[in-house]
């Protein structure tokens, strides 16, 4: 496996951690893949894999993404038309939704049907959902291969107050239990998104990133 991974820099979030996690996974796979943090749409066009990170509020992230001239067009061209493997992380995953309902109603990229809504856990649980939780896979996916789920499975690191409520269950791949079924992974075709942070999730996260680097949808 060679090629290049483009991690999109649109002024949101902790890109160093994401880049370092990808570089470590590349080394673990003994691959030659180049990992580039970039705000250049032309570099994104040339990339073999695209990663969209994001922390903060939905609207701020969407505005940040659309403020990078040509980036949304490059993304749609490569991910929707070109079939390039795509991974959205945290708010980067939420942006795949039809719309976000955080501090108003804002249109998303519209790749996964559903809205990003506030968590409403039963039992007076704290929001944000912050910390380590296990996953429950609702259907198999290459990015989840060789990752143990369920009670005795590995943990993923979450930190969020909103989640993507999918309207098409075929796009839901994993949930976490937190006083409700919290959407943990979504996907379709060549795109996948995680609400948790793989780059902060130690063993589980690095496995998922390695799976993404080898994914041929």
């Amino acid at each position: 496996m060679t090629g290049a991974v483009a991690i999109i820099d649109y002024g949101s979030g902790n890109l160093r951690s994401a880049a370092k996690a990808f570089e470590r996974s590349v080394r673990a796979l003994r691959a030659e893949t180049e990992v580039a943090v970039t705000n250049d749409p032309d570099l994104v066009r040339r990339a073999d894999r695209i990663v969209l990170p994001g922390v903060g509020a939905f609207e701020d992230c969407m505005n940040g993404l659309t403020a990078v001239k040509g980036m949304r067009e490059a993304l749609e061209e490569r991910v929707i038309k070109g079939g390039v493997p795509f991974l959205g992380i945290c708010v980067g995953m939420q942006l795949m939704a039809t719309e976000g309902l955080e501090k108003g109603t804002w249109p998303g990229l519209g790749w996964i049907s559903g809205a990003v809504v506030r968590l409403e856990p039963r039992g007076g649980l704290k929001v944000p959902h912050m910390g380590w939780n296990t996953l429950k896979f609702t259907q198999p996916h290459p990015l989840l291969a060789n990752i143990p789920d369920g009670e005795a499975g590995l943990h993923a690191y979450f930190v969020h107050s909103y989640h993507l409520a999918t309207t098409d269950e075929r796009t839901l791949f994993a949930t976490a239990d937190y006083g409700q079924a919290v959407t943990a992974c979504v996907g379709r075709d060549n795109m996948f998104g995680t609400q948790f942070h793989p780059e902060k999730s130690q063993t589980l996260g690095l496995s998922l990133i390695e799976n993404f680097l080898e994914w041929t949808p």
Binding site: K20, V55, K126, M130, L154, Y157, V159
Partner: protein, 262 residues
């Protein structure tokens, strides 16, 4: 499946070096915060906290390098506190690799700073540090006051602010988590101020991290069961090898608290 209680070791960093020495056998340089961070990462810590106590302005930037070097090797969440005054300070820490920042004095002096920071970076990365002491006499805070008052500068400077009210207001302004430290208990090994922890945890909808005074593993259990904390922070019991992270986790698990054991 359930969210696990977090154990957070905290490292005091001054001029880029760990201050209260970390006594692990395997460390080549015990004063290097990155070495200590890596050891805690390997030991199964759920998050890591750096408290920057650098006093001189010219050495302030050392923390950015510490965080950056940590983020290159540690794939775990990192919170940084100490000396954060501006939105630009926060941005630089996040870009260095921090996931959350803990704000103390600036949240007291300028409550709107919490709002600006949360609007800019999201509630989830803004931790407000609630440093409180028990009042000597109840009347000092007025009839409706709680038993605790907010202090700054490591517990030296009283502010007159009621601790519970400060905590509630900070969450209203956008704090996504509160780090509640009893300045009476800090360094005493007598255990958390459980009443303080519980009073705040029950008053807010965000997670509370209990801090200050851990001397035994029972203190960690009590912080969760009696203090209603979502996470427990400790320094010396881990630094000096009194207990390992694994021992602490196993003990808490044995006492019915769900922990991450992988």
């Amino acid at each position: 499946m359930t969210l696990k209680t977090r154990i957070i070791p905290c490292l005091d960093v001054k001029d880029g070096r760990v201050v209260k020495g970390v006594q692990f056998v395997d460390l080549v340089d015990a004063g290097d915060p990155v070495e200590a961070a890596l050891a805690y990462d390997a030991a199964g810590a759920d998050e890591l906290c750096f408290l920057d106590i650098t006093a001189s302005a010219e050495n302030r930037d050392t923390i950015f390098d510490v965080v950056a070097r940590t983020a290159e090797q540690c794939f775990m969440p990192v919170t940084v506190g100490g000396g954060i005054r501006t939105v630009e300070d926060i941005r630089k820490l996040l870009l260095s690799g921090a996931d959350k920042v803990s704000i103390n004095t600036a949240a007291v002096n300028d409550p709107d700073f919490v709002s600006r920071a949360a609007d800019k970076f999201g509630d989830q990365c803004i931790v407000v540090s609630v440093d409180a002491r028990r009042r000597q006499t109840r009347t000092l805070g007025g009839a409706n006051a709680s038993d605790w008052e907010i202090f700054t500068h490591g517990g030296r400077n009283p502010t007159g602010l009621d601790a519970i009210e400060f905590a509630v207001r900070s969450v209203e302004r956008g704090a996504g988590e509160l780090l509640v430290t009893s300045m009476d208990r800090d360094g005493t090994k007598k255990g958390f101020d459980l009443e303080l922890t519980r009073a705040i945890a029950d008053a807010v909808h965000v997670p509370v991290v209990a801090s200050g005074g851990v001397g035994a593993l029972d203190d960690l259990v009590a912080g969760v069961k009696e203090g209603h904390a979502s996470a427990v922070l400790a320094a010396s019991i881990f630094h000096f090898g009194t207990f390992t992270i694994a021992e602490a986790k196993a003990y808490m698990q044995d006492h019915g608290i769900p922990m991450r054991m992988d």
